[in-house]
């Protein structure tokens, strides 16, 4: 497994060990939250698409 490298710059990266420990702790839970949020987003998208499909598109009749 590759060693994560230390960030170079200033700003809010505390360099070195502290950041790595925070990162490891964060990675214990990730990406559970992301999966849920993404699922909700695409779920709503699907509902919208199917809604337009069944409520607007199909009732407007056959064309070809």
């Amino acid at each position: 497994m590759a060693e994560p490298s230390y960030p170079a710059g200033p700003h809010d990266y505390s360099s070195g060990k502290a950041e790595l420990e925070q990162l490891e702790a964060a990675m214990d839970e990730t990406p559970r939250g992301a999966i849920v949020v993404s699922l909700i987003a695409v779920g709503l998208l699907m509902i919208g698409w199917l809604g337009l499909y069944f409520l607007v598109f199909i009732p407007r009749g056959s064309v070809g």
Binding site: T30, L45, F57
Partner: protein, 550 residues
């Protein structure tokens, strides 16, 4: 682990003035186009607008579309590309002189096109609409802008190649890899419109031909028409992957997925243009269905991006102490413009991308083709998601160019919120009106018709959204301009790009270069566009008569 190259910290950016020149031109044109857009919406509404004639309206729409679609975008992308090339590769540009040459070529082309439109002899809108034919100087102006962008592409490709030679085996920094991916994709993209202009439209404009095969011209233009929106979108996705995670105080969830997303865009953004021609008679259901299937594939890199960037946000939020399934969301530093813009961009991506899924759905396209739904879609996805990230990118890089930090981030956040609110207020009614049948490119509606009359209030709501956008655009200019005079001195000469959770030591050559992807593009284009174009030569349809304007 390889030693990190020494940072070019003390010296100012070599490309500083080049970047500023490109982006200020883009912003100036953008602001003018915003004001024209407001006037256009006023003209279409039940309210009385000044100077309201059809001639002025279509002059304005042409200027608005060409400014936003060809000038704002190309100049911004070029400027940002030069910035990324210098700061991510940490080396000077291969040729500053050539870059400046291409800038001036682009300026000349822009002026030619703009003056042609203002003269009234080029009201052919962004899509050109042959056999309607404008003065040849309009098209030649745009060709010059495209040629300028080709020079930029070559500089980007050469910069990456040189860096790879100097750093054998090293992964190209993601921001530059994506920038060059965009350059490669753009070279492929422009083939369609270049062929249409050089072989069909410009000869007709000069009077050397009297008829034009409009099926062929629409097909060639469609080659460019979809991929161009990905050309526009790349800088925003570059910001998602390489700037947002840093601004949020975390890391990019996966560098590999970033590379994969960008190469998927290269191969799937091109062989899909026929989805703009679903309602055209000149293509069979077979090829329309094939390109619809490929369009479904081009949604994949966006779906992947949504997850990767959300996961990156989760990493940042958890590093800042967010707990539980959603706590990380609140823990993010929303006061930072790049973070705020990314959140707003993703919200608009939901609506704009959703609308796009409807557009691409083959038969469903009949519900909305050439209605205000389409106008809503591209204003939301381009004007919204993409442009708000352009604004955030400017805020992010301006301190390193001017060497001054913003004294306060409040006006920046206000400007981003106004842009978001204005865009939602303007575009949501257009979706509704489009489903009701409100059609496009109308200079004036007959509000005495009962159906059209019922649209009036919504048209005014959209107008209000547009006014909010115009105010936001002015505030954007003010925020950046102030940094040239005021601001806190001492900003560093470069931004810091995001690090991945697992910074790559080595990546496969397919994710570090474009040889394989060029081959795949060629194969896919042959499959998807081969017959659709060849048919016009094998079995030529009757041609349309050229209609010259002015």
């Amino acid at each position: 682990m390889a030693a990190r190259p020494r940072r070019r910290d003390a010296a100012a950016l070599e490309t500083g003035r080049l970047v500023m020149a490109h982006i200020w031109v883009a912003i100036a044109v953008f602001a003018l186009a915003c004001l024209l857009g407001v006037w256009q919406m006023w003209a279409r509404s039940p309210l009385n607008a000044p100077y309201h004639t059809a001639a002025n309206y279509f002059r304005s729409v042409t200027l608005h579309g060409v400014s936003m679609g060809y000038v704002l975008t190309t100049f911004f992308i070029m400027g940002f590309g030069y910035y990324v090339a210098e700061t991510s590769l940490r080396r000077p540009l291969p040729s500053l002189a050539l870059a400046w040459g291409s800038f001036w070529l682009g300026i000349v082309g822009t002026l030619m096109a703009a003056l042609s439109v203002v003269s009234g002899n080029a009201s052919v809108l962004f899509t050109f609409y042959p056999p309607l034919t404008a003065t040849p100087w309009f098209y030649i102006g745009l060709v010059l802008v495209v040629v300028a962008s080709w020079i930029w592409c070559l500089i980007m490709i050469f910069a990456m190649r040189t860096w790879k030679a100097e750093n054998p085996g090293e992964p190209v920094p993601l921001a530059m890899f994506a920038t060059v991916a965009n350059a490669v994709m753009w070279l492929w993209t422009t083939v369609g419109v270049a062929a249409e202009l050089l072989f069909q439209v410009i000869p007709a404009a000069f009077g050397w031909t009297q008829t034009v095969d409009v099926g062929l011209s629409r097909t060639l233009f469609s080659w460019t028409l979809h991929a161009i929106v990905y050309f526009w979108l790349f800088p925003s996705y570059i910001a998602f992957y390489t700037m947002f995670p840093r601004a949020a105080g975390g890391r990019l969830y996966s560098d590999t997925m970033g590379r994969l997303a960008f190469v998927l865009f290269i191969i799937y953004s091109l062989p899909v243009g026929l989805h703009h021609l679903f309602m055209d008679p000149e293509h069979s259901n077979g090829f329309k269905f094939l390109q619809m299937f490929l369009t479904a594939l081009v949604s994949v890199p966006t779906f992947l991006t949504i997850f990767t960037i959300t996961a990156s946000a989760e990493v940042a939020g958890r590093m800042r102490g967010g707990k539980g399934l959603f706590g990380w969301i609140g823990a993010l530093p929303w006061e930072r413009p790049m973070v705020l813009a990314t959140g707003l961009a993703f919200f608009m991506l939901f609506w704009g991308g959703g609308g796009g899924l409807i557009n691409m759905s083959y038969g469903m396209n009949a519900m909305i083709h050439n209605t205000s739904w389409v106008t809503a879609h591209f204003h939301l996805i381009f004007g919204g998601t993409v442009v708000i990230m352009y604004q955030a990118i400017c805020y992010s890089i301006w301190p390193s160019i001017t060497r001054r930090d913003f004294a306060s981030l409040k006006p920046l956040r206000l400007q981003l919120w106004l842009w978001f609110i204005g865009m939602m207020v303007m575009t949501l009614p257009w979706h509704w009106l489009g489903l009701q049948g409100q059609w496009r490119r109308v200079a004036a509606f007959d509000y005495s018709n009962p159906l059209i009359h019922s649209w009036g209030p919504w048209v005014i709501v959209s107008l209000v959204g547009g006014i909010i956008l115009a105010l936001s655009a002015l505030l954007f200019i003010y925020n950046l301009a102030m940094l040239h005079r005021r601001g806190v001195a001492g900003a560093p000469a470069s931004i810091e790009y995001a690090q991945a959770v697992h910074p790559p030591e080595r990546v496969p050559s397919s994710l570090n270069g474009f040889g394989l992807w060029n081959i795949i593009v060629a194969v896919l284009m042959l499959l998807a566009y081969g017959w659709p174009i060849a048919q016009f030569f094998v079995s030529p349809p009757p041609q349309a008569v050229v209609h010259r304007l002015g």
